[in-house]
Amino acid sequence: MSKILAIESSCDETAAAVIEDEHIVLANVVATQIDVHKEYGGVIPEIASRIHIENISMVINECLKKANLKMEDIDAVAFTQGPGLIGSLHVGVQAAKTLAWAFKKPLVPVHHIAGHIYANRLVSELHFPLLALVVSGGHTELIYMKDEWSFEVLGTTQDDAIGEAFDKVGRVLGLPYPGGVYIDKLSKQGKNIYKLPKPKPEKELDFSFSGLKSGVLQFIKRMERQNETFKPEDLACSFQETAISCLLERADKALASLKVKQFVLAGGVAANSCLREHVTNDLQKKYPNVECLIPPLSCCTDNAAMIGVAGSVAYRHGVRAGFDVSADPGMDLES
């Protein structure tokens, strides 16, 4: 039974976790300040390396304490190597290297997206081949996993990530942060009655949300120009249905051509109720032989537990980094 210490600092969060036997969370600590975000009506990112440095030792200490373990009990140290913001990533990478060196533990590099997908392992066994839809504030990717620890990116966003489009449209509609949550709420009172643009990128499995975001803005400006009124709940609903349908169309296309055992959602936008409903009501019905996994919210957001699960699998597969390893802000998933 492996015990993996995982460190994640790819952007806003400084986090550490200990995972036992690839799927049991012994401790999961995040130094987050979401209340501060709300206070300012926008995201106040803790992205400065200085803040990660202030947090990291405390977070790791707290994590080991909660797991009731010492560094000597740990089998390997996993860390997010990328992608992310270079200064933030460096702090986690450096902490992982220091611990691994001081306690003579193997170092296991993990891709942030692999972490999001493997977060599902916390609630279910994964069966391959599988198709994963990773949707968050920073990512929109469709990934095919033929086997364990094999990744093929089928499609990715050509401009904005879907979560970013939700947050920006939320801001335009005057909704609080995070916009995605409030658009989801507001949509429940509205109807999908406005036709909004659905940009089509060159490759059919790629995504594009920038044009849709601009389409919402153009719509509001046009209404203002023509002195017409509109219901914000209808616009929110129309936007949400359009954005989510872009995801579902790509997933549908991929499922039609690939024989997979599972379809898994991952990332913060997997919490969106419209996406969850359509996956359950449409995709699951259309592909009854594919098990659709919809993770609980606790598995969706950025945290170190997901890096720990992915790191445990990578550790078993012999993935290692030397002490010369560095953060890779533009890291590719396939390799």
Binding site: R50, G137, G138, T156, T157, A161
Partner: protein
């Protein structure tokens, strides 16, 4: 100076030209309306610089780095509004590559004095007004070549 741009294609042509004219240490800020085409413009600047990789929005990670003949540092300060954190961007701003900063107005205290400021405003449909201002000789001559 102000320039009216009639289509997304024109925005892309302008960006590509800007990329072709890029030099080490160049700094461009992009401001204006949300959804006006800041990332679209940056994508074509990258193409002009010979970068093949997809350039996508850096809003979430704040900075994305692309390797070309010289590196492109694509910064988005959208999430930096009203906060003061030392991100070590000074190093990048005085570095060996090209810096394109979306929502540069949110970090104006750390911007170099010499730079190109572009503000993009949405008009009807794909029409945009580009308000372009050059600061410093290098950027003034760049602007002349650009238009």
């Amino acid at each position: 100076m102000k320039k009216v741009i009639h289509s997304k294609k024109d925005t892309e042509l302008l960006g590509r030209k800007l990329g072709e004219l890029s030099f080490k240490g160049m700094c461009i800020t992009l401001n204006g309306d949300l959804g006006a085409g800041k990332t679209t413009l940056t994508k074509s600047i990258g193409k002009g610089m010979g970068i093949d990789k997809t350039i996508s929005s850096p809003t979430f990670t704040i900075l994305k780095i692309y390797k070309g003949n010289i590196p492109l540092y694509h910064i988005d300060a959208y999430r930096m509004e009203g906060i003061d954190q030392d991100l070590g961007f000074e190093e990048i701003l005085q570095g060996e590559g090209v810096c394109v900063i979306e929502w540069g107005e949110f970090i104006k205290d750390i911007l170099p004095e010499e730079r190109l400021d572009i503000s993009i405003y949405i008009q009807k449909d794909e029409e945009r007004i580009f308000d372009i201002n050059a600061y410093g000789e290098r950027y003034e001559s760049l602007l002349e070549k650009l238009l």
